[in-house]
């Protein structure tokens, strides 16, 4: 099953902050769900190919022709923190 340490590790990978209560609850809920999911472990799937693509086409390619980009202002306008020219974030390694 999935224990507290694993929950914390996965939360870190997924950049989700969990409260202590959430960690505990998550651990229980995920364990229950995984219990059910693990039933697929009983099947014999040795010779079976995984379905990595649902549509059976290949080589869907786009011509290397430029089209106009979106206006900078419009795109920056959606950001919660932007300067006149770019998206602002806390520096990696700072703080």
């Amino acid at each position: 099953m999935i224990d507290r340490e694993q929950v914390l590790h996965v939360a870190r990978l997924a950049r989700l902050r969990l409260t202590e209560e959430e960690v505990e609850r998550m651990s229980g809920e995920l364990s229950t769900i995984l219990d059910h999911i693990e039933k697929i472990g009983e099947l014999d799937l040795e010779e079976v190919e995984p379905t990595s693509h649902v549509v059976q086409v290949e080589n869907v390619l786009r011509a290397d022709e430029p089209r106009p980009s979106w206006a900078r202002e419009r795109m920056l306008g959606e950001s919660p923190d932007a300067t006149a020219v770019g998206f602002r974030v806390p520096s990696p390694g700072a703080g």
């Binding site: 059910h36 999911i37 039933k39 974030v89």
Partner: protein, 470 residues
């Protein structure tokens, strides 16, 4: 006057508009008025007025309700989530553009389970939706808002998305028609992603004729979506009166125990109707379908965990932490995502993580292959497969929120089809405890015309009196 207008199906209204008997703006205003006065929380945003549709348009100015996760340029599109609160996309989804080009006008954005994750519309960041048949009950999910709106006559028709049943199940719980097309038939460009290999856009309508009409203008290969395919034939108006010569298969795995008695009764009655119309019936096994839920709840969360990684407070949506980079990500995502979304991201991340990939994701993709093979084998013996859409009727709000697994299990009739990429429809077939029961018809890839035709014949024969308008 208004009541008469909203009593028309979309096809009927479109015909009246084209004939000049009804003005598009009158039609729009009638619906806008009803939608604005709703008490179901079906809508998250309403248009202020109808734009003029192109002249002679096949969908003639008939207003359309659009699930929140479809990006519409400059219109709030949040996929029912707080993490996209205030986001106005700089572009419009291809499916919506196609429908607008055909004359449909945007009435409003409908409520949904956050990022399409849910079967009850209780996971919305903007409050739950209520079933118009009984306001203390759920409409189903994740396209609960779209289903409720159509069922309550707040919109003539709507589009939603189906990943594990999110069009068909709410359609069944609300007593309307819902169709999930073949994977790849409708462009996903501009559809906020949940699970990329499963998501499909489809119609929610009052009757099968409307569903066919809407589907006809949605399908087609899109250059902006590498997984979209050309629909090999025109989607036509269904017209079948009988089902002679059609072979129907009933899988015991999806119609046996687990289906509540009232639903089973309606289902069996529908099956008899099929026979009465000349259809032949046989039992056909889908041996791996009992593992559909397990496979689905690995694959969908896994893809979702990656699809939702972009919600980080940098380029759009709110940001709630910024003391440092990690805080920005973690706080923003914690505050913006609801519990179900967080649960699925955790599940998906775990299933893909180092050491677990083969056991979970790898295996689930193999189960998926087997499920697809089961259908292929079945369709060599029958033309269509028929099952109940949902094992139960609409349940009460709050009834299943404490038990995520129980909520997931209720999808077991609908998840096998998206796993195999095949199309399926739900039509209302009767009532149980005075609540609608839906039955599902599924067919091989690109068999939508045949599905719609059979559904039409069945619908005419059943004569479901639905839609508690008012």
């Amino acid at each position: 006057m208004s009541a008469e207008i909203v009593g028309l199906t979309a096809a009927q209204a479109a015909a009246r508009v084209r004939a000049g008997e009804l003005s598009a703006s009158e039609l729009f205003d009638a619906y806008l008025e009803r939608a604005a006065a709703e008490d179901l929380n079906a809508f998250l945003w309403l248009a202020e007025e109808a734009p003029d549709p192109p002249a002679d348009a096949p969908l003639g100015g008939v207003p359309l309700a659009v699930k929140d996760l479809f990006c519409v340029e400059d219109v709030p599109s949040a996929a029912g989530s707080r993490i996209l609160e205030g986001y106005r996309p700089p572009y419009t989804a291809t499916a919506v553009r196609n429908l607008r080009d055909a004359g449909a006008t945007l009435l409003g954005k409908t409520n949904q389970d956050e990022f399409a994750m849910g079967s009850s519309n209780e996971n919305s960041g903007y409050g739950p939706v209520h079933n118009p048949w009984d306001r203390e009950r759920v409409p189903g999910g994740s396209s609960g808002g779209s289903a409720a709106a159509v069922a309550a006559g707040l919109a003539p028709w709507a589009i939603g998305t189906d990943t594990g049943g999110s069009i068909r199940q709410p359609a069944a719980l609300c007593g309307i028609v819902g169709l999930k097309p073949t994977y790849g038939a409708v462009s996903r460009y501009g559809m906020i992603s949940f699970a990329s290999s499963l998501d499909q856009c489809g119609p929610l309508t009052r009757d099968v004729t409307d569903a066919a009409l809407l589907l006809r203008h949605m399908v087609g290969r899109d250059r902006c979506d590498s997984t979209s395919l050309e629909f090999p034939e025109e989607v036509v108006q269904p017209s079948a009166e009988r089902l002679a010569g059609m072979r129907f298969g009933v899988p015991p795995e999806l119609s046996g125990e687990g289906i509540e008695p009232g639903v089973r009764e309606v289902f069996e009655s529908a099956v008899k109707t099929i026979e009465g119309l000349g259809g032949s019936l046989e039992e056909v096994s889908l041996p791996h379908s009992p593992h559909g839920i397990a496979a689905y709840y690995v694959i969908a969360p896994a893809e979702a965990s990656a699809n939702l990684a972009r919600y980080d407070g940098v380029r759009y949506g709110p940001r709630t932490g910024d003391s440092d980079l990690t805080a920005m990500y973690e706080q923003t995502r914690h505050d913006g995502f609801g519990p179900e979304v967080r649960r699925r991201i955790m599940l998906g991340t775990y299933a893909l993580s180092s050491g677990y990939y083969e056991a979970y994701y790898g295996r689930a993709q193999r189960v998926r292959t087997k499920i697809a093979e089961d259908f292929k084998a079945a369709f060599e013996r029958v033309d269509l497969i028929v099952t109940p859409t949902s094992p139960t009727v609409a349940f009460k709000l709050g009834e299943r929120t404490e038990d995520p697994l129980a909520m997931y299990m209720s999808d077991y009739c609908t998840v096998p089809m998206p796993l195999a990429g095949i199309p399926a429809i739900s039509i209302p077939a009767g009532l149980s405890q005075r609540l609608p029961v839906g039955i599902q018809l599924a067919g091989p890839a690109f068999s939508e015309n045949r599905i719609l035709d059979s559904a039409y014949a069945l619908e005419q024969a059943i004569g479901f009196e639905g839609v508690p308008v008012g």
